[in-house]
């Protein structure tokens, strides 16, 4: 990976954002992109703008020949092989590059999903779990676009609960094939893909992955789904009817399919977060142009405060989205940089380095998809009546965004992962959460303390983030004290804690990025970033306080409730900032630029 002097170097434990304050030097931001990163962004931007957007209507009508043609073009540019090792025909780059691609390709969701499905869940199972022979056979052809990949985990009766699938695999009497039977549902790219990673249970018990080619006997594709959105992507069921898969196409180990499923989804999540940011940026840019030219009451609607407020919020959310996405993959790249690529278990180490950030990846997925939904909702509103009709881009963007909260693990499942994973790490002592909670409990019981205010740039904002962390820890501590291990059954509380954790990560990442810009470029050049961080903090703190109240009210009553609420109020105390003025400032800047900018 190309590192700049400002890019972080030290490996950071996953989930530790909840416990420690990071110096800006340890946080990767889009301002740390090097020349290579910028060039990748430019190629992806230009490709999506010049090659994909002009033919979006044909893709919406499921012209899969055109999709294949475009995928081939992306392959010719190397855009399909950023995560494929060089020895198998790939470009093998850092995860920041990989996310930049996902981010900037996501201008038209229909194609972005086809491309993302192919390069992500369609290709990565082989990259991470394939044998040498499987990699040699398939990766070069997936890289050059000759073959398109897909991933078949879900079934009609087992989506979130995919490990509970019904598809079965039986070894043939001659020991040469596995015979697969069953059906898969909602498989992206199925209409035109050549190679499918299919999950089935060997002997009806052992959850296992197989590499299934479209041409294998007994393999069939069902009809296209009629979808609410991403209509420019193919989604069909698979029908496996005595489908013969050669034994050498078993992927990974028998009974270890869940390792593949979990890891691939985890990777899918951070990329999905990046794509949501890219989609939101495109929507904001459209909304800005529209608002500038739409006249009402003798003015451009971009001059109205209530429209400016929307544009400012959209820009702010994109800024925060970029901050969490690139901070996360920046950490991954540092961890991956420590892996001995020549070592015996290099791939296992690579997977571990990515898995380390499972919580952050789930945050990107949930936060990113909900952010995008908010952005496209406001976009429709800015377009008024034109937002509701197909001739304008808002209507499609609105429909396309929705699926992101459903696939790659629903947002409910991912919320449970966020809190559950952190609790597990706390229990096993991998993350010193419990001592931190205990210290905090002692501190709050000791009563109000003066002067643990921070100093230096953005001191007030950093103090607010520090308090947000305390609120999250306090709520988590109180909840786990009450329910102990049984907390996992209290889904609403798990969810509220996940909301607090997500907001902490989002708020802190925004502040650290603004701070880094401030330190590097001075006040004049970082005013917009600081304003966006401030607006976001106000919003994030409200969400955290509300979630905290919900948790405390659910677990305490009487005097205990009053005491704990008093602690919540004390921890959440802060002087409100003038978000009206800040939003106007942000809006004016993006309106003047005609597009999303950060300075």
């Amino acid at each position: 990976m190309a590192t700049t002097t400002a890019a972080p170097k030290a490996k950071i434990p996953g989930g530790s954002f909840l416990l420690q304050e990071r110096p800006t030097s340890e946080v990767f931001t889009p301002e740390d992109f090097d020349e290579q990163h910028r060039l990748i962004a430019q190629t992806a931007d230009d490709f999506a703008t010049n090659e994909v957007l002009p033919v979006a209507d044909r893709l919406e009508h499921k012209d899969w020949a055109l999709t294949r043609e475009l995928l081939k073009k992306t392959a010719d540019l190397g855009l399909t092989s950023v995560d494929i090792p060089e020895e198998y025909g790939g470009a093998e780059m850092d995860k920041v590059s990989s996310c930049i691609l996902a981010d900037h390709m996501a201008k038209y969701a229909g194609f972005a999903v086809s491309w993302g499905g192919h390069t992500g869940i369609g290709t990565l199972p082989i990259v991470f779990f394939g044998t040498e022979a499987q990699k040699k056979k398939y990766l070069p052809r997936l890289a050059n676009g000759e073959m398109i990949g897909a991933y078949a985990l879900s079934e009609a009766s087992a989506g979130s609960d995919a490990l509970n699938c019904r598809a079965r695999a039986q070894l043939s009497p001659d020991g040469k094939h596995y015979v697969l039977n069953g059906e898969k549902m909602w498989i992206t790219n199925a209409g035109f893909a050549d190679l499918f990673t299919v999950f089935a249970k060997v002997d009806g018990e052992k959850f296992t992955a197989f590499l299934v080619e479209r041409t294998f006997p007994g393999f069939a594709i069902g009809a296209e789904e009629h979808k609410m959105g991403i209509r420019g992507s193919s989604t069909c069921p698979l029908i496996l009817n005595d489908c013969h898969v050669p034994v050498e196409n078993l992927l990974g180990e028998i009974g270890k399919g869940h390792v593949i499923a979990f890891n691939i989804l985890n990777i899918g999540r951070y990329k999905l977060g990046a794509m949501c940011v890219g989609g939101a940026r495109t929507s904001l840019d459209n909304a800005i142009s529209y608002a500038k030219q739409r006249k009402a009451f003798g003015k451009s609607i971009a001059e109205f405060g209530l429209i400016q407020e929307k544009l400012a919020d959209m820009a702010t959310e994109i800024f925060v989205g970029e901050s969490i996405v690139y901070r996360t993959v920046g950490m991954m790249d540092v961890a991956l940089g420590e892996v001995d690529k020549a070592g015996a278990n290099a791939l296992g180490e690579v997977r571990k380095a990515i898995e380390e950030y499972a919580v952050e990846c789930s945050v990107l997925k949930v936060w990113g998809s909900e952010m995008l939904d908010h952005v496209v909702d406001e976009m429709v509103q800015i377009y008024g009546g034109y937002g509701f009709v197909e001739e304008y881009p808002a209507e499609r963007a609105y429909r396309d965004a929705r699926v992101n909260r459903i696939f790659e693990g629903t947002n409910e499942i991912n919320r449970l992962i966020i809190t559950g994973w952190l609790l597990k790490r706390a229990m096993t002592g991998q993350l010193p959460l419990l001592p931190a909670i205990k210290k905090l409990m002692d501190e709050v019981l000791a009563g109000p303390s003066l002067g643990d205010g921070l100093e230096g740039p953005l001191a007030a904002e950093r103090t607010l983030v520090a308090n947000a962390k305390k609120l999250a820890l306090f709520a988590a501590g109180a909840a786990s004290q009450k329910y102990m291990q049984a907390l996992v059954d209290q889904q609403e509380i798990m969810g509220a804690l996940a909301d607090m954790i997500m907001e902490v990560y989002a708020m802190e990442s925004a502040v650290l990025r603004a701070q880094k810009m401030l330190e590097r470029n001075g006040e004049a050049a970082s005013g917009l970033a600081v304003a966006m961080a401030q607006v976001y903090l106000a919003h994030g703190m409200e969400k955290i306080e509300a979630a905290g109240r919900k948790v405390i009210a659910a677990i305490a009553e009487g005097d205990m409730l009053r005491t704990q609420m008093a602690i919540l109020r004390r921890l959440g105390k802060h002087e409100p900032v003038n978000t009206v003025a800040l939003r106007r400032q942000i809006a004016n800047r993006v309106i003047e630029s005609g597009k999303y900018v950060t300075a």
């Binding site: 910028r38 060039l39 190629t43 855009l79 590059s97 630029s593």
Partner: protein, 256 residues
């Protein structure tokens, strides 16, 4: 064929421009991109190399930020780059820019030098022509097409009103390239990766200083034109009005 392509970094076409404090140029904090005709010049050079072999070298004169255009060119397939690096190259007149280029390449032997037809910022359309004069080479401008021919090249120039001119010329020569003559390629991921390891020679202002004379260009004042509205009712018969109107459109508004 060994081809040098002169490339300039200019403010992005759709970037909102703000005047600097002294009102003599725009503020530095805008987004920049490759000057459009230069991008076509590079593309043409890469195509010539693909056809006939050889080397494509890119050169720019500008501050540190302008290295970006060189990296982009390297990622698209140029073999090496030369960066005349100094903020003083911003706003330098065409003759001194050409002198700086000539000095920086004095030890090189190119068959062809391409520049864009003109730059999107100052728009002199002179740098290439002056460079040819300094080198003592022939030149041709507004080039649409280049074919190798016996003992040299045959180029197609765009003239006005849909006319073209074909010129046979010997090598070495300088050509200024028109926008839109080919389809620009994208930088591939492999290209981007390889660009990092391609040679980029930096040339300081001091190294070419002897070849330069004082900058002849001085911008006194730059301002945004005031929007004005002017209504005039033309009097007379329909024929007279039509005549007056065409006259105005031709001579005052100059749209005919």
């Amino acid at each position: 064929m060994k081809i040098l392509v002169c490339m300039k970094q200019v403010p992005q076409k759709d970037a909102p421009l703000k005047l600097n404090e002294s009102g003599t140029w725009i503020r530095e904090d805008v987004s920049y991109e490759v000057n459009e005709p230069d991008a076509y010049a590079l593309e043409e050079a890469l195509r010539q190399k693909e056809k006939h072999g050889g080397e494509v070298v890119v050169i720019t004169a500008g501050p540190a930020r302008s290295q970006q255009v060189l990296r982009e060119a390297l990622a698209k397939g140029a073999d090496r780059a030369i960066h005349l690096e100094d903020p003083a190259f911003v706003g330098l007149d065409a003759i001194n820019t050409a002198r700086a280029f000539a000095a920086a390449i004095k030890d090189e032997k190119f068959d062809l030098i391409f520049t864009g037809l003109q730059s999107d910022d100052y728009g002199y359309a002179q740098t290439g022509v002056i460079l040819a004069e300094l080198l003592g080479w022939p030149h041709a401008t507004i080039i649409m097409q280049i074919e190798k021919a016996d003992g040299g090249i045959r180029v197609k120039r765009e003239l006005e009103a849909g006319y073209f001119q074909f010129v046979d010329m010997p090598l070495p020569a300088v050509l200024t390239i028109q926008s839109g003559i080919n389809k620009l390629r994208y930088a591939t991921l492999i290209g981007i990766k390889q660009a990092k390891n391609k040679p980029l020679r930096k040339v300081a202002l001091a190294e070419v200083q002897d070849a330069l004379s004082p900058n002849l260009l001085k911008l006194e004042r730059l301002y945004v034109p005031q929007k004005t509205k002017n209504t005039e009712v033309l009097q007379g018969s329909a024929g007279e009005i039509a005549k007056k109107l065409t006259e105005k459109l031709r001579n005052e508004v100059r749209v005919l």
